[in-house]
């Protein structure tokens, strides 16, 4: 894919990524967010943050499985959209849900593991978002890669946050958990493959 085509794809992804937000505005203006609109917005933005996180994490498995590399260029933008929806999610929680009642918020975050886990995941996305620009990539060099491996921790925390949120029916969060396990599993499989190939190669070299 050439530069021009990549640009078109980027614009398309950018527009598509804003559709979930546009939908919320549309429903909101038409008074169509249901009996508990705050909960609706909270769940919607949270779900989309998680979806973008999983899409971001699927760029490398696509490369491993198909050999295609162009999609890696979308990764930063997708990751930032994850951060964008996570910010909306937390804003909804602090503002619309808890109306800036800081004492209530403090209790909620510290006493409820599901909130604590989600909050930790959000905090960890901040350094990644801040260092997502080219300047920071150059400046941090090899440390950048190490830092951005935090995304795996964030993904696990986010899925656990969702699993803990449901009262009884785990069906929906389990879909996300399975998706994450698959995405991480593919990576581990290829890593293991490469590792054993390297060992075989080394052994062969020793024999000759």
């Amino acid at each position: 894919m050439n530069k021009q085509q990549i640009l078109y794809v980027k614009v398309a992804v950018w527009v598509l990524a804003l559709l979930p937000l546009a939908r919320l505005f549309w429903l909101g203006f038409n008074d169509n967010l249901g009996a508990n609109p705050v909960e609706f917005v909270e769940h919607s933005t949270g779900t989309w943050a998680l979806v973008f996180l999983l899409i971001t994490l699927s760029m490398t498995p696509i490369r491993l499985l198909t050999g295609q590399v162009w999609q890696i260029q979308l990764r930063r933008m997708l990751g930032l959209f994850m951060f964008f929806y996570a910010c909306l999610h937390i804003t909804t929680y602090v503002w619309l849900d808890f109306a800036f009642l800081w004492d209530e918020l403090l209790i909620d975050v510290t006493k409820h593991p599901r909130i604590l886990v989600g909050f930790a995941a959000f905090l960890l996305t901040i350094p990644l978002a801040v260092t997502s620009n080219s300047y920071m990539i150059k400046r941090l060099k090899t440390n950048w890669k190490k830092l951005h491996q935090l995304v795996y921790v964030i993904a696990i925390l986010a899925v656990v946050h969702f699993l803990m949120l449901v009262k009884k029916d785990l069906t929906e969060p389990i879909y996300y958990a399975v998706a994450l396990i698959l995405l991480l599993g593919i990576r581990l499989y290829y890593k293991y493959q490469a590792h054993s190939k390297a060992i075989l190669k080394a052994k062969a070299m020793l024999k000759t």
Partner: protein, 359 residues
Amino acid sequence: MIILSKSAINPTNIQPSEITSCEVFDNRRHFIKAAGFGLAAGSALLLSAKARAANVAGGALSNGTTEGDGRLLGRANASAKVDKLATKAGARIKINDYKKTAYGAGEKVTKYEDVTTYNNYYEFGTDKSDPAKYSSQFKSRPWTISIEGEVKKAKTISIDELMKLAPLEERIYRHRCVEAWSMVVPWVGLPLASLVKWAEPTGNAKFIEFISANDPQTMPGVRSPILDWPYTEGLRMDEANNPLTLLAVGLHGELLQNQNGAPVRLVMPWKYGFKGGKSIVKIRFVEKMPLTTWVKSGPNEYGFYANVNPNVDHPRWTQSSEKPIGVGLFGGRIKTKMFNGYTEQVGQMYAGMDLFNNF
């Protein structure tokens, strides 16, 4: 029954501006429209019209008069007609004969649409919108309730007989869910105490167990083992006899919709909503504290008493404040009150009890 003064039963801190205005007028208008259309087009059409409506008397059957905005149902066959109407999904059947009470005077009730579309009724699905969507196959009439256990009158009674045990009355109660949201619901029903009195419990009856319908054919939720079906709830005898405890058969002046627990459900406004068993089929008087569904499912999260208590936190939801339904995106939260604001009526039942351990 003790008649409470307005101020005693209305310690609300809900601002009128925070709650959607009462939709009773609006409902009536819809109703008149539907009925008018029906009358013009003939009764057959009325029965098949989308917003089916009919006047029925609660408790005693209709005396044959109508307010002029609905169908006239005769004394003899009213019950059969109600049964027939109620089998139609979403039929809205008005209750004529119920008395207004001072309970909840001044409260702004949550609008009908919200009360009937935002429900926790896992027998029909775990999403709040599921019960309204997936309860249409459920048949709430004809209906019988089996009275069992430590009582002199261990027998089965029909919903119509139950509705005649005491005059129906409207009670506007605050409804607080353990998930930290709340509503104000104008229930129509009769005190559970009147059923207890009628059943004549023996000296061994210390608790009452309430068992809900469990029909995999018409309740999609019970096909999966999310909870240990049938849904079972329980009350201590004094709680059951408390004047606040209501066997609700209607809300907003109409018979209960399936998603709200038709044809009869429990309402204890000082307890978290899950205590209110819906679509009750069995009422069992027992000596030992019943093991209730949510206690079985998570004993560290849900207790037998489940009294609304802002000082005892839940592992998942903050209990010191709540989100009122109907206040919109920017309506904020309100502080939760001890016993949901009903301390005066129920506090003495728990005097001396450790409410932290007996949550």
